[in-house]
Subunit: 366 residues, 2 copies
């Protein structure tokens, strides 16, 4: 048996029991809400986890790029949604068409121009579009008032519109989870009415994120949100969770399945330096975060600085920092970016290494 | 011929002429200062660039990890410095020893405990230690007053001390370049005296970073910094430069050799969304940066938000943002993290694709 502290650091370790508990919990939450679960595979990029999600009842996978779709399609996943306003020009158009000939494919669209290209690229296939809505995150997606125009443009371009999707990314902020879920519900309800007014039935209404997925229907009802709700949830991070989810209140430490294993390489007074830096954890640090990651076993410690191969961690005055050479677990702020930096995940059970999973879609970001 | 706009975005493109000009300029600067150049290969992780640096007179390469050292040693680079306080335990000790039996190896050390382990791992090889100094960045490294103790501990452990090194990383801040170079010079001068007092001659005195490398000796002399200067510079970023270097004033746009090629996938009013996000550019954003990267061809635009596959870019009111589907170049904030996300670099000359270079040490971060 290999124990997890026997391996050269830094590397990403996944606690299999916590992972499986997280996967079951979200499958149960979707079932309780009576809606479909289509997990976002950009978080794990890993066939072993996708298979577990599908076995637990997921209707298919969400991906962010054509490259991710290619990896999961090749592995036998036959229902994929590229939740992105794909620009179907050049070689990418050919790749999309090849995908649509192989799997049940949905793609995002947020402009008439993109719809035109998608219509050409996907003509004669069974691919469908979902119109992207901006529900308050102000990234991609149209205001619901414009959803009808985009949907009509898609259908005119020969691309059937299966429905709507949105990402309530503004839920990533302290206290923002419920307001973002309300924005999402209201935006979708308005857009449903608009599409129906144009004679298009949005059978698929896809939303959700890890922070907002747990906002219960009753909170939405209590806030007076009426109309058509979501039919599908697309959370990704929930499989592993991360420091951000803990700081947002959407997970607790016992639900953090992935951590970087790091070694204390330098130590002075109240401060240690670990060998897991931004090339292991990613450099994400939203303004509201307490640092550049967290130490689940030392919740009062703060990661005050991160360079490529260094995490500088300050401990409270009454705590003796871990010794030189000791192994410390670090939860990245944003697990999706950490996973995309790793070639493999070291799978553990009770501190023993039980498997290694390839990050099959690592770097497949176009 | 393939033009660079024919490829599916996002990807990293390197302008070969700008790269070669940057490599020559730094080689010239080191020659003018009369000191050695040992470029940090963590920036490019690329054999083709390492070979160019060595051909231009570099005395060897700097690396950050044992894994990077293994890649460059296997490719025939026979003089490597691991500029990191390596903790030589377990399997890592065996890997270090194998390296030291193959190449001329130097390693960093900043504690007696680490020196002890290094001494055991490297006994009987020609490997040498450089004591790491904290010259003001407050990451790893000891105060110069403690350099003697660490050096003596290393020699007692059987590990010869070849000298000192420091990274003036606090030069990464507006107006900080010259003060950080002064701190570096003063710290090294003090530590040289201390080591000599212990009977150890620090023949190698290694420092430098891209922002501080250009701070001229005469500025140091004018500030009254006396004593022994550096014998070696270790800049890395200068090969490519990035948005940070431009905003720090250590490079201008014409010296930015690497950019991400991205497509405009969404557009509204003064804002466009590009398909290069943090999985292409990295998520680095120091507090003093104007955004999450810069557009060299649109210097007044600001990257106001970055998600994994989206860069949200706002243009000034009097500028029409680029059209949907157009290709836009993005300079990452921190090029080292961007390169570590890519499997290959697309090499261009006058807009044509002329080569593809493997990022050979991508992910070799332990």
């Amino acid at each position: 048996m290999v124990t997890v502290t026997d391996l050269d650091t830094p590397f990403l370790a996944v606690d299999r029991e916590v992972l499986e508990s997280n996967l079951s919990a979200m499958a149960g939450l979707a079932a309780e809400r009576g809606i479909s679960l289509r997990p976002h595979a950009k978080t794990h990029k890993c066939l072993e986890i996708a298979r577990r999600q599908l076995a637990l009842g997921a209707v298919g996978l969400t991906v962010a790029t054509v490259g991710e779709a290619e990896v999961f399609a090749a592995a036998g996943c036959d229902d994929l949604f590229i939740a992105y306003p794909v620009w179907a020009a050049g070689h990418r158009a050919e790749r999309l068409r090849a995908l649509a000939e192989r799997v049940s494919l949905s793609v995002g669209v947020d402009s008439a121009e993109a719809a035109e290209l998608l219509g050409k690229a996907l003509a004669g296939t069974s691919a469908r579009a979902l119109v992207e809505l901006d529900s308050g995150h102000h990234r991609t997606g149209v205001h619901p008032a414009e959803a009808g125009q985009v949907a009509v443009a898609a259908e005119r371009a020969g691309l059937p519109v299966a429905g709507l999707f949105t990402f309530p990314g503004h839920g990533y902020g302290p206290g923002n989870r419920t307001p973002a879920a309300l924005d999402e519900a209201r935006t979708v309800a308005v857009a449903v009415a608009i599409l129906r007014g144009r004679g298009i039935e949005p059978a698929v209404r896809s939303g959700g994120s890890t922070p907002t997925a747990g906002v219960a229907e009753r909170e939405l009802a209590a806030a007076g949100v009426v109309g058509e709700g979501l039919t599908e949830l697309r959370p990704g991070v929930y499989a592993f969770n991360d420091a951000q989810q803990v700081e947002l209140g959407s997970a607790d430490w016992s639900a953090v399945a992935l951590t970087a294993m790091a070694t204390v390489v330098s130590r002075r007074a109240d401060t240690v330096v670990l060998d897991a830096g931004s090339k292991t954890l990613g450099a994400d640090q939203p303004g509201w975060a307490t640092g550049a990651g967290r130490l689940p076993d030392h919740p009062d410690a703060r990661v005050v600085a991160l360079s490529e191969h260094h995490a500088t961690v300050v401990f409270p005055p009454d705590v003796s920092p871990p010794a030189l050479g000791s192994t410390v677990r670090v939860a990245p702020n944003h697990v999706c970016n950490a996973v995309n930096l790793a070639d493999e995940l070291v799978v553990t059970a009770r501190g023993q290494v039980v498997d290694r999973w390839l990050v099959a879609a690592r770097g497949r970001n176009r």
